[in-house]
């Protein structure tokens, strides 16, 4: 059942008009109940039921652009919610030992389930003050360097790493360039591919390009159902290819950035389900699902010998993009050969090759 307190008027997305309408009606009835003392509970219950069906209908067929909007919803659970609800005894570790402490990337030791982990995540901030401090979730190079430093520390003591990705992208600023944004991200990709501890990466909201990838290389990459992960923001892509930023919905569709599409393409290992109507409607269930995934996956990765784990990780990275298409091609190639052999076995038909398989 949707939690009405968390979806007040004005926070409905444009495509949820009907849901908003039902919410208004219910509020009206509740007000009447308290003012006039008439019992409307059965009507309210009916409206709620209607709302659930409506939400089911909307959320079972979100377009790519609508998914992007859900992923950017102002009330979507952020890193701080996960830290509060999922991580016991969190001890934040600050600073990159080099330049400063970037608030857009938070790192620290904690406990998830029974496992001690190093948690690294991108934080967008809740209040305006926090948002400014964390640069709206756009990390600077020192953030990536901090993440790497803490990950190396975790590697030393065999502590598994969990990263929670939620960023519109790495910050494009003068200072960021001066301090080597590109080098910082490249170094993370390079080292994360060889760290001798299990790494789980989860996109919890926005997965914006290199900024997301900078803490997104590991043994498993999972996504929340309505998160998105893309090589470029839909607006940016529309600006370049459509020469018109307002074509973002179309660009979003073309970029195949939803969890469903990416899972189909074999680019994401798992999709973590979100509660009805998106993560922002039920924070606790969302966090619980994520926690469940982490605990399960960690148990699974723990069983693998570290050298095998690294080999598997390399094989996974090495076959990026090849997995979906090349495997298919190989399969058809093998099939074609098998058919050819079978045909050659038939006397008199040795030279015929089937046109297409």
């Amino acid at each position: 059942m949707p939690d009405n307190n968390s979806s007040k008027d004005g926070n409905h997305l444009a495509f949820e008009e009907k849901v908003a309408d039902l919410d208004r009606q219910m509020n009206e009835l509740r007000k009447l109940t308290s003012v006039k003392g008439i019992d409307y509970s059965s009507e309210i219950r009916q409206l709620q039921r209607q709302q659930v069906t409506e939400l089911k209908r909307i959320y079972s067929s979100l377009t790519a652009w609508q998914t992007v909007q859900v992923a950017r919803h102002p009330e979507r659970p952020l890193l701080s919610d996960y830290l509060n609800l999922m991580v016991k005894d969190f001890r934040e570790l600050h600073g990159d030992r080099c330049f400063g402490d970037d608030r857009a990337i938070i790192a620290g030791l904690g406990q998830i389930g029974r496992e001690r982990v190093l948690l690294v995540g991108q934080d967008k901030g809740k209040t305006t003050k926090q948002k400014i401090a964390s640069n709206f979730g756009c990390p600077n190079p020192e953030g990536y360097r901090k993440a790497l430093a803490k990950m190396k520390f975790a590697e030393k003591f065999g502590i598994p790493i969990v990263t929670l990705i939620d960023t519109p992208g790495a910050y494009p600023g003068i200072g960021a360039e001066e301090r080597g944004q590109a080098q910082a991200i490249a170094a993370n990709l390079y080292h994360m591919s060889r760290l001798r501890v299990p790494i789980i990466c989860i996109v919890i909201g926005e997965g914006g390009s290199g900024g997301a990838l900078g803490i997104g290389v590991g043994d498993r990459l999972a996504m929340l159902e309505f998160a998105y992960y893309s090589v470029i923001s839909p607006e940016g892509c529309a600006g370049i290819l459509w020469r018109d930023g307002s074509q973002a919905p179309e660009a979003a569709e073309a970029l195949k950035l939803t969890s469903k599409d990416l899972y189909k393409l074999g680019l994401v290992d798992a999709v973590i389900p979100e509660p009805l109507g998106g993560a922002h409607r039920n924070l606790h269930d969302t966090v619980h699902n994520v926690e469940d995934y982490i605990v399960r996956t960690l148990r699974e990765l723990r069983r693998v010998k570290i050298d095998t784990l690294l080999d598997n990780r390399y094989a996974k990275l090495r076959s990026t993009g090849v997995s979906a298409t090349e495997k298919l091609r190989r399969r058809t190639k093998a099939g074609r050969e098998r058919i050819k052999e079978a045909l050659e076995a038939i006397p008199g038909k040795g030279k015929r090759v089937p046109a297409k398989v």
Binding site: G173, A182, G210, L213, G214
Partner: protein, 281 residues
């Protein structure tokens, strides 16, 4: 042709004659001198007046860098299969690939092969800036990894010329994944003790800078090359401040410590050969 007896003289025209500067003359974008094209070409496509380095395609680059006829290409006909089925503005990625192949006379944005540089055997990977902005997609990532693996197998140094607009957005997260893929391959190469020299040419930006271009054991840049993560236009639009002069040039990168040296195009060959010699085991 013999029939044409009439003069072609049609009097003076104030309209600029299109064919003349196109073929014989060119203008240097930096010093704005009118230059004789063949003189520029003889000068390794460097402006003789102000040493502006013109962008050159992969084949020319290879010709300038390696010993004559020593380049042996491999995986030359690897082609992308458009993993997303990307369509935009009434056209498609596949169409764009075809158009660019025709325009640039290249099949993909990277050439890999083995070659000799002043007699030193190397594995090379050279990017082609005229093919979809030299962007990195599935094929570039795949070729790059193949070059790394070949270098590892044959225990040869790897020389890469980066020249790219970044990740290829037509391939979405597949091209983003190539950043992780190339970096992982280099990490393995590094563990095996291989030498990786990266040459940054104009322009090197986006996903290419944020992966293999910044991971060289030795990073060499051409003078004046644009090198950065976010493009200058993106930065200017985001922060709405005029960018300082010389921002994101090779010299800027050297000053901030991200490039080992800046080398003129004419010295590139000998510098690479020297580095290979120094790192001999």
């Amino acid at each position: 042709m013999g029939k044409e007896t009439k003069s072609k003289w049609k009097g003076f025209s104030l309209r600029p004659r299109k064919e003349m500067p196109e073929g014989l003359w060119m203008r240097c974008p930096r010093c704005e001198h009118m230059l004789y094209r063949s003189a520029v070409e003889k000068n390794l496509n460097v402006c003789p007046e102000c040493t502006y380095h013109f962008r050159i395609d992969a084949k020319t680059r290879i010709k300038y860098l390696v010993d004559e006829d020593s380049f042996q290409q491999f995986m030359g006909d690897l082609r992308t299969d458009d993993p997303l089925g990307f369509k935009f503005r009434g056209t498609s990625y596949k169409q764009r690939l075809k158009d660019d192949a025709k325009k640039s006379d290249a099949k993909e944005a990277m050439l890999i092969g083995s070659a000799f540089i002043k007699g030193r055997g190397v594995i090379m990977a050279v990017m082609e800036p005229n093919f979809l902005m030299g962007s990195m997609g599935l094929v570039v990532g795949e070729k790059f990894c193949a070059a790394v693996e070949r270098a590892m197998e044959e225990k040869l140094p790897l020389v890469v010329v980066a020249c790219s607009g970044g990740a290829r957005m037509h391939e979405g997260v597949v091209s983003l994944g190539q950043m992780a893929k190339t970096s992982a391959a280099l990490a393995k190469f590094d563990e095996a003790g291989g030498l990786y020299i990266c040459v940054l040419a104009d322009p090197t930006t986006g996903g290419v800078t944020a992966s293999f271009a910044m991971l060289g054991d030795c990073i060499v840049a051409e003078p004046g090359a644009l090198i950065g993560f976010a493009g200058p236009r993106t930065i200017a639009e985001t922060i709405k401040v005029e960018l300082p002069e010389g921002f994101q040039t090779a010299e800027f990168m050297l000053e901030h410590g991200f490039v080992d040296m800046i080398v003129h195009r004419k010295d590139l060959r000998s510098e690479i050969a020297r580095l290979v010699d120094y790192c001999r085991k």
